[in-house]
């Protein structure tokens, strides 16, 4: 939670929080209709619709409340954004039209970018493994992805996957060799350029000096 410092005005954020917030607001501004986050009425429909909210430490409704309170770090270190399975139940039911799922995506990206997330949660490792496979082959490579992921996180668990792996293999459902796109060289050129594009933040989205105002 935000510490109380007497040197700041009520509602004013410290430097780190205001930088985080500005970066997050930029991410949210890329979501069509992202500004609707201001309209949350804290009704809890998102939490009630979520099939996995029972196992979250901070509910989706509370995520929005914490954001308004200026406490992004608590959000990043919660289980919540990492356990969202992206099923969009909250998004379609929100009476205010807030795209909760997309906001959680933006929060995930922010957390990884700023390196602020619980390292023991496995989602990051899976996403990273997925990205390296896709960049390498242009297509996802299921077996390679799972091997890489388990080697990174819990190598011993690989043994418990053997029975299912064996069954899938027997039924011809495992692609042993990776499938690749033909124009791999050109694809990596595209991706290199995209990486540069990723870093460009338009001037209009840069943090304003007085970014302490609450949403």
């Amino acid at each position: 939670m935000m510490a109380l410092h007497t040197s700041r005005e009520p509602g004013e954020l410290d430097k780190k929080e205001s930088e985080l917030r500005a970066a997050f607001l930029y991410q949210v501004s890329n979501i069509p209709g992202g500004e609707k986050i201001k309209k949350c009425i804290q009704c809890g429909t998102c939490t009630g619709s979520c099939p996995v909210s029972y196992t979250m430490d901070i509910s989706p409704r509370e995520i929005i409340a914490l954001f308004r309170a200026g406490d992004l770090e608590s959000i990043f270190f919660s289980r919540t954004i990492w356990i969202c399975a992206s099923c969009y139940a909250c998004t379609v039911r929100c009476p205010q039209g807030i795209k909760v799922t997309d906001i959680l995506y933006a929060l995930k990206r922010m957390a990884m970018e700023k390196d602020l997330f619980p390292k023991k949660l496995p989602v990051y490792a899976l996403s990273r493994s997925f990205v390296s496979m896709s960049n390498l082959f242009g297509r996802s490579y299921e077996i390679g992805l799972l091997l890489l992921y388990y080697l990174k996180t819990k190598p011993l668990k690989l043994f418990s996957l053997l029975p299912l792996g064996y069954k899938l293999m027997k039924k011809g459902r495992i692609g042993v060799l990776p499938k690749r796109v033909k124009r791999r060289k050109e694809l990596s050129k595209i991706l290199k350029e995209a990486e540069i594009m990723e870093m460009i933040v338009p001037v209009t989205a840069l943090p304003k000096k007085e970014s302490g105002a609450l949403v």
């Binding site: 139940a89 995930k108 495992i174 692609g175 499938k179 124009r183 594009m197």
Partner: protein, 289 residues
């Protein structure tokens, strides 16, 4: 109308039977599916979690390739379908991101001008080809088969392009017309957990148990689905669920195109039944394939 076919990565390996039966059904109905030349992964939910612009570029490369061809882009995997549609939405709404994406695509002489319509084969089959036209070609009745119609989350959400977000009925109508019986199935758009089966297996096992429970308690002989991830979660983990929850599930999980192919007279290979882990038994096939 011609259709461009985007199989997606899953349909090349774990979802093989979805690929085979979809191609077969379209051919049987006299519709040509032309595979998108040199397509790449759509980026799925995982790329979106790491980098925004790059994930959009990944997905938009396919759209740019499709734009050079004629027709709608048909994506059977629910996740690919949602991601490709979402890319269209984001790029339409945000000219800065569109410029960034096109700047990147230019490195291989590609450009995307937002002209591609992304469709799901279920939508195409029912709304373009039509249930009556399908019925006219049916060779085997599905009478007596009780189905739990499992749409999963990604096909109708977030946008509900061709059906209701909470209570879709396209698949129900299709199979009802072909003689099957749809059981009450309140979990039809509930999430299976997707990749949580890898990252948080305890959570995902519970979700899948609830879906299987709802289907079997309502008397379903099989569950049919539109999504490769739902299929593998429900099909591949029944043993594990039975062990953990002391249950007795042994219910076949089919791609909707597999059952449709069966009704249209496909043989065992063409339906892809051989790839199902929980065997598609006589209750469904009547010993015919």
């Amino acid at each position: 109308m011609s259709y461009i076919y985007y199989p997606g990565c899953s349909l090349e390996s774990s979802g093989k039977s979805y690929d085979r039966s979809t191609r077969w059904v379209f051919k049987k109905l006299g519709q040509e599916l032309t595979e998108l030349e040199d397509w790449n992964c759509c980026g799925a939910t995982m790329y979106m979690s790491i980098k925004e612009t790059i994930s959009l570029v990944f997905s938009a490369r396919n759209l740019a390739l499709a734009e050079r061809m004629d027709g709608d882009l048909v994506a059977p995997c629910s996740s690919c379908y949602t991601i490709l549609n979402k890319t269209n939405h984001i790029l339409k709404d945000n000219f800065i991101l569109k410029a960034k994406v096109n700047q990147s695509l230019k490195r291989d002489g590609l450009e995307y001008n937002l002209k591609v319509n992304v469709r799901h084969p279920l939508d195409v089959l029912v709304n373009d080809i039509g249930i009556e036209a399908i019925k006219a070609k049916v060779m085997r009745s599905l009478k007596g088969i009780k189905i739990a119609q499992y749409y999963g989350c990604q096909i109708v959400r977030p946008d509900g392009v061709f059906d209701d977000k909470e209570n879709p009925k396209t698949m129900d109508l299709l199979f009802e017309t072909l003689g099957a019986e749809n059981v009450d199935f309140s979990m039809k758009v509930r999430c299976c957990g997707g990749m949580l089966m890898t990252t948080f297996p305890d959570v995902a096992l519970k979700l899948n148990k609830e879906i299987l429970e709802c289907a079997t308690e309502n008397g379903a002989d099989c569950v049919i689905t539109t999504c490769p991830l739902c299929q593998i979660n429900l099909d591949g983990y029944q043993d594990k669920i039975n062990k953990r929850y002391n249950t007795n599930f042994k219910i076949p999980i089919l791609f909707f195109t597999q059952l449709l192919a069966f009704a249209l007279g496909a043989d065992r290979y063409e339906t892809g039944f051989e790839h199902n882990l929980i065997e598609v038994g006589e209750k469904i096939t009547g010993g015919l394939v």
